[in-house]
């Protein structure tokens, strides 16, 4: 058994179909829906933590991609735009788990595997360089 976090992007034509149900029925996968944004007939985004046998997970992902659904491995929905970031450190003030911290040379580093997605850093960033992808 393994656990994996994936971000699914549904194009317009795939928004009306019960894709997640197929993952359970055909591929025997368990999943937690962590975030969902589905606008029927427009587009959708789904952040899932899926659990199952490695082969089943891979087959499930192939199935999703065959149905034009974008699948991306992901650790955190928080992204830091390095072009906008000036490494001031304001975001580290609110990151309780140390996912955002300053290196020894005072650059900002983002350990996305530690992120709990509280999203306080999005508000704390004066450069608006941090955003949630969904």
């Amino acid at each position: 058994m393994m656990t994996k976090k994936i971000l699914l992007s549904f194009p317009q034509k795939a928004t009306g179909q019960p894709m997640a149900m197929e993952l359970i029925k055909t591929y025997h996968l368990d999943f937690n829906i962590l975030k969902a944004y589905i606008d029927d007939n427009v587009k959708g985004t789904l952040l899932l933590e899926i659990k199952g046998e490695e082969a089943d997970i891979e087959a499930g992902i192939v199935f999703l991609r065959q149905n034009q659904i974008g699948v991306k491995d992901i650790q955190s929905i928080v992204e830091v735009d390095e072009k906008k970031c000036v490494s001031c450190g304001a975001c580290t003030a609110v990151c309780a788990v140390g996912a955002l911290e300053m290196t020894d040379d005072w650059s900002l580093v983002h350990h996305d595997d530690k992120c709990l997605e509280c999203l306080l850093c999005v508000k704390a960033c004066p450069m608006r360089a941090i955003h949630a992808i969904i």
């Binding site: 000036v86 005072w106 004066p126």
Partner: protein
């Protein structure tokens, strides 16, 4: 052996000046001692890159045909001051836009102008005999303007408080987000690299001092507002609370958008990150001793921002070395510390200024007037009564 500004400038012109940053000079003084180091080093560069709200730009748009005496002015929806002459304005960094609020303010317009972007200019007027036009709606770029210079009334604080929140509610402040129950501490300084902490008694920094300002060569134009040289100091003279400030001036057309950036403090407002570098000439041993200061010897107070009064209590006096360590112990509680100004960018600015001087592109300007010591700041008394 003392040096003069002229002697140092002659060395810069010959490409022989020894220029190091205020961080690098610490080890040089440890190895060689103050006396020898003062002979060896000619210039020490200092820098900072942090939020400086009291900033803004004077702009002159040139006259349209027919001309207008601009009364109400907006730039990308941000109001600029209409109380100057016909096509002059002052655009303040913290002014929020009418449509996007604090997410896009005067500082962002200033950044966009420096980045060469077109800005939407709308102006209205009553119309006068000499300025008949009543409305104007156009797009301008920095290169289209006659004059455009930053004039920042209060920048590069000599020292500043660290912030904490002892209340039970999260606070959104200009010192960033402060978590309840003393959950974190924020501070804003480049410490031992900071310009005015390296010249605590303003022996070399005064009116006219040439500086690195937003990527251009600018000048110190006056003492900054809330200039406090009567602040508490340690026995060597370093301020232990907010002290001196500087008013800075520089040509926006020569600036780099990397060093002037719009900033947003959630729940507080717009601010501007300003990149400033100041060279300190090593005229004598006293000045060399001052610039060799280290973070462990520079102190500030951890102030409780949850007290809604002007005089907020200090919970602890701490050194910048303690703040930089990542945590501070207050009454047995280990509290995380976080910076708000970018030391990484400050180092980049100090390096760039060092290179300018080494390449003979930047010369030192001796102040034409020194700033007063012992200058205290006043508060504002609220007087009762509607008329007098």
């Amino acid at each position: 052996m003392a040096k003069t500004y002229q002697e140092i400038n002659e060395k810069i012109a010959r490409g022989e000046a020894v220029v190091v940053t205020a961080e690098e000079v610490i080890d040089i003084v440890k190895e060689r001692g103050v006396k020898e180091a003062a002979e060896y080093v000619d210039v020490v560069t200092t820098a900072t890159f942090g939020p400086m709200c009291s900033s803004g730009a004077f702009l002159n748009f040139g006259h349209s045909d027919p001309p207008i005496r601009m009364g109400e002015i907006t730039m990308n929806g941000v109001e600029a001051y209409g109380g100057l002459a016909a096509v002059d304005t002052y655009l303040g960094a913290t002014q929020p836009s009418q449509d996007k609020g604090i997410e896009y303010g005067g500082a962002h317009v200033i950044h966009d102008l420096i980045a060469g972007k077109e800005v939407h200019l709308v102006a209205k007027s009553q119309g006068t005999d000499c300025y008949p036009r009543k409305e104007l709606d156009t797009w301008v770029k920095l290169e289209d303007l006659n004059e455009a210079y930053l004039f920042n009334p209060r920048n590069v604080y000599q020292n500043y408080n660290a912030a904490i929140n002892a209340s039970s509610h999260r606070m959104y402040t200009y010192m960033g987000i402060l978590q309840p129950n003393m959950g974190n501490i924020t501070y804003s300084t480049s410490g031992e690299l900071s310009p005015l902490l390296n010249d605590p008694l303003l022996k070399t920094i005064g009116m006219g001092t040439r500086i690195f300002f937003g990527g251009a060569q600018g000048h110190v134009s006056w003492m900054g507002t809330q200039f406090n040289t009567a602040c508490p100091r340690d026995d060597k003279g370093y301020p232990q609370t907010p002290g001196a400030t500087l008013a800075l001036i520089g040509n926006m057309k020569e600036m780099n958008p990397k060093y002037i950036r719009g900033a947003v403090y959630e729940g507080y407002g717009t601010s501007m990150f300003v990149g400033v570098g100041i060279p300190i000439p090593i005229l004598n041993e006293e000045i060399m001793a001052f610039v060799s200061v280290e973070n462990k010897d520079l102190y500030t107070n951890v102030i409780d921002y949850s007290v809604p009064k002007k005089a907020k209590p200090s919970l602890k006096k701490v050194s910048y070395a303690e703040l930089r360590s990542g945590s501070v112990d207050i009454n047995g509680k280990i509290i995380k510390t976080s910076p708000l100004s970018s030391l990484k960018m400050a180092r980049e600015i100090a390096e760039e200024l060092t290179n300018w001087i080494k390449k003979g592109e930047f010369f030192l300007q001796e102040p034409i007037q020194s700033f007063p010591m012992g200058n205290a700041i006043k508060g504002l008394e609220i007087k009762e009564g509607e008329s007098r």
